[in-house]
């Protein structure tokens, strides 16, 4: 039996099964089930990655023969799809949201109408595809996602409705893997809407008024994104006569009204990836328990959005109006949210803005649509997912232990929770400082942006602002007085042993950056793209780039060594800080650039510009048909 397809199918079925089992169980048994299934999912994800790399193939497909009974799959998914639509309509009605109900009904009508026109139960030639891009997403989802689930076992201790919570967390992972691996667009759509359902319930979890309102907002926005997706898919099946992603992208060179397929998927992807002007649902989603934020922001929901956008890139030529529009929208999302993050003191909001910004960077890179920029997109996706997952979990620990989410109340955290603080320091550094992974992505994206120089302005402002808000936060965490009272840190093993592996993973992946760039990432590009070595002058894509990255690591290690081991500060060396001779304990506060007033203004500005761009994205196919 071929292992790779089996593992791929297990990455979908195992979490689903785990979710179903976790739902009805008692507390103790559920702990065991979640732990066992999470471990198994991590194993599946890891094994799949290693086997795929070992195998060396570009793509592995699962067709009729790999699925066991293919009819069961086809009919199962069709039936579940209809049930899911009905559930979404019911959810919309229960949330008293006409907007959501209409969206779900439109989806149901579109999909049912299309299926009955085409005939139900058509068997796809290739049902699932594993290629290098999908593998990155599946690996992130399986490994980071499962670690988040394990983390949540401790975090959710003492909360209500844990059965529903873990059922949806695990189901989410399965649906995410399913969506990423699906080659049949209708299946992709099904899994896509399952993630909408899961995210609704996870945001809804605490059942406060705020949670209910946020869940409703998320449902409305993502359901309308789903409508866009459905329109694109139905058009592809109706006029382009294919529902399979590989055939669709191979057909290439779309023109005129047919551009509606990528345009609709772009907009659908942007709603999931919470790009401006659709960012509000992700910010609202912060009312959910922190592991949910970690899940939405790093391993599942938002990645699915950029994945859909990425998949459509080969359908477009360089510098078409559509790609340029998308690139500008992404760059504005990046710069605007980076500036918005400066005005926030709630750390979850800062991180949420940072997520939107980084995904904006990915969207921008896909919009630039050169080989090097696509490599940059995957780099940012991978490293952002790992770092952001870790940062959210760490914030969760602080919230759990010290009961605060406010940066201003986190002074001296390095004394109260040293382990968590250093994890956050590493996470923040990996988001902004070379040689850690995200820097490589940013480097490539700046280089790619030379193709559209106006983006450089936005990039420059955005990346400077990124440094400021992370530095400000970390600065507050580590600020302390002269005599640190050493506190004992009793961290639950659930926290320690989920954070530590991710931290190790960040360092390991960063060391591997040049090899990932040269060995993995550029072979991942869709067909029809040139070798980025030939089109990009970047040192990172040069064969000796590991020398540069290595040099930075070496210098950093020397600096750390000198700093940590050669500098000694004994008690007799210590002095109080200078306060002009006043016997005061200094009180400090951060600078928030005008706070909420600035934030409102900036949000309005960015939303209005980006809404225009999003509408332009939708109209461009029509315009290019007419012109």
């Amino acid at each position: 039996m071929d292992l790779i397809p089996t593992l791929a199918l297990m990455s979908i079925l195992l979490p689903t099964l785990g979710g179903l089992l976790a739902f009805p169980m008692g507390d103790r048994a559920r702990k065991g089930v979640v732990l066992a299934f999470s471990a198994a999912i991590i194993f599946v994800g890891g094994a799949l990655t290693l086997l795929f790399l070992w195998d060396g193939k570009d793509t592995v497909t699962i067709g009729e023969d790999g699925l066991g009974s293919v009819d069961a799959w086809v009919w199962g998914i069709t039936a579940l799809d209809i049930a899911l639509m009905a559930a979404l309509i019911w959810l919309g009605a229960r949330s008293r949201s006409i907007v959501a109900v209409v969206a779900a009904v439109v989806q149901l009508v579109l999909i049912l109408g299309f299926e009955s026109w085409k005939g139900f139960g058509e068997v796809p030639v290739v049902a699932f595809t594993i290629d290098r891009l999908a593998l990155v997403l599946v690996a992130v989802c399986c490994i980071i996602g499962s670690l988040i689930a394990i983390f949540a076992i401790q975090y959710m201790e003492g909360r209500q409705k844990k059965g529903r919570f873990f059922a949806f967390v695990l189901l989410f992972l399965g649906a995410m893997n399913g969506a990423v691996l699906s080659n049949d667009l209708l299946w992709l759509f099904f899994f896509w809407e399952v993630t909408t359902l899961c995210s609704f319930y996870l945001i809804y979890h605490d059942e406060t008024d705020e949670a209910k309102a946020s869940a409703r907002l998320a449902l409305e926005i993502t359901l309308w994104g789903g409508v866009a997706l459905a329109v694109g898919i139905v058009y592809a099946g109706w006029k382009l006569d294919t529902l399979e992603l590989d055939q669709l992208t191979a057909s290439a060179d779309l023109a005129g009204i047919a551009l509606i397929v990528p345009a609709m998927l772009f907009v659908g992807g942007m709603t999931k990836a919470a790009q401006v002007p659709f960012q509000s649902w992700l910010l609202g989603a912060m009312v959910a328990p922190t592991p949910v934020s970690a899940l939405l922001h790093s391993s599942t929901m938002v990645n699915l959005g950029v994945y859909a956008i990425f998949r459509m890139a080969p359908l477009l030529k360089l510098y078409t109006p559509l790609t340029v529009t998308v690139a500008i929208l992404g760059a504005i999302s990046f710069a605007a949210t980076a500036a918005l993050a400066l005005t926030q003191s709630n750390v979850k909001r800062v991180l949420a803005y940072s997520t939107i910004g980084n995904l904006g960077l990915i969207v921008m890179c896909v919009g630039i649509n050169t080989p090097a920029s696509l490599v940059a997109a995957v780099f940012i996706l991978l490293f952002h997912a790992v770092s952001k997952g870790m940062l959210f979990l760490s914030v969760g620990v602080i919230d759990h232990e010290v009961k605060t989410k406010d940066i201003e109340e986190m002074g001296g955290m390095s004394e109260k929770l040293p382990f968590v603080t250093w994890v956050i320091v590493l996470g923040a550094i990996s988001m902004m400082i070379p040689p850690f992974g995200l820097f490589a992505g940013k480097w490539l994206s700046v280089e790619a942006a030379t193709n559209m120089p106006m983006l450089l302005l936005l990039l420059g402002v955005g990346s400077a602002a990124t440094i400021i808000y992370y530095t400000k936060w970390v600065g507050r965490l580590i600020s302390r007085t002269e005599a640190p009272p050493k506190a004992e840190e009793h961290l639950s093993p659930y926290y320690k042993y989920t954070l530590a592996p991710i931290a190790g993973g960040i360092v390991l992946l960063s060391v591997l950056t040049p090899f990932l760039a040269n060995g993995y990432a550029f072979e991942m590009l869709p067909e029809g793209y040139a070798d980025p070595h030939e089109t990009a002058a970047s040192d990172l894509l040069a064969t000796d780039s590991y020398l540069w990255i290595g040099a930075i690591f070496l210098f950093m290690a020397v600096g750390m060594f000198v700093g940590l081991s050669m500098i000694r500060v004994d008690d007799k060396d210590r002095r109080k800080v200078y306060t002009c001779g006043e016997p005061i304990e200094p009180q400090v506060a951060g600078h928030y650039f005008g706070g909420e007033a600035t934030a409102t203004l900036l949000t309005d500005l960015a939303v209005s510009v980006c809404a225009g761009l999003a509408i332009a994205t939708l109209l461009l196919p029509v315009i290019s048909e007419v012109v």
């Binding site: 002095r575 800080v577 200078y578």
Partner: protein
Amino acid sequence: MDWLWLVIATVITAIAPFAVAYLQGVDRRITARMQNRVGPPLLQPIYDILKLLSKTKVAVNKGQLVLATMYVTMSILAFWMFLAGADLLIIFFILSAAAAFYTLAGYAVLSPYSQLGSTRELIQVIAYEPVLLLAFFGIWLVTGTFASEATDKMLILWLPLTFAALMLVLLVKLQKSPYDVAEAHTEIVGGPEIEYSGKFLAMVKVGHWYEAALMFAIISLFFGHPNIYVAFAGKLLIVLLAWFIVILVDNSTARLRFGQMARVVLTYGLALTVVNALLVWAVQQEVIPWP
């Protein structure tokens, strides 16, 4: 990569702080003359460092010192990589890493002055970084590469406005009036530097010198010539010119508030670099005829 050149780069990196120290000695002398004083010996900055090294060790906490070490390391690395011919973009990112570590070191002590100064330092980052990035883009536009290896193009003729914008960045990076808002000795008594003393202060100062050396190295890119001797003389000249402009501005202006600083550097700096890039593009596309 040429190993011999790496050795040369390492040697130059080792002697660079002395060169910058000497330049600062000259600075103090010229400043003194401008103010009708005699001024200290030319090697005074070196004497200062030597004296600092002999002082008693005093510190607030170790965290600050570790982060300061990282700052100095990053400054040295940025300069070394520039000489070794790395991508200007990687240098850009390492430079901002240095700024981040320096600021974090300032935040690591709970001193009102240090915290205030660090926040101002960060506001400087948002002021000069976009300008620097666009300046690098201007260089890319003319030379077609981000590699810092010197080209023989006469960039100053292509990018005079970008050069002017870099002067603004230089003033900020060298902590010179009117942009010395982060250190601001008369106001927040040295800002992020306040809690260093003795050899740690010396270390941070050397870090500043490396940053200055890198800025001058970037300035030196603006003079290129096929003849290596002419190129060398021209590079030296343009660095000295930039240095003189900085001293002149430093002595003839008063410090701005940090908000004003950010506004001036961002608006004028970005406007200059963008206009210059547009002009270069227009010449390259032969929209504007050029001999």
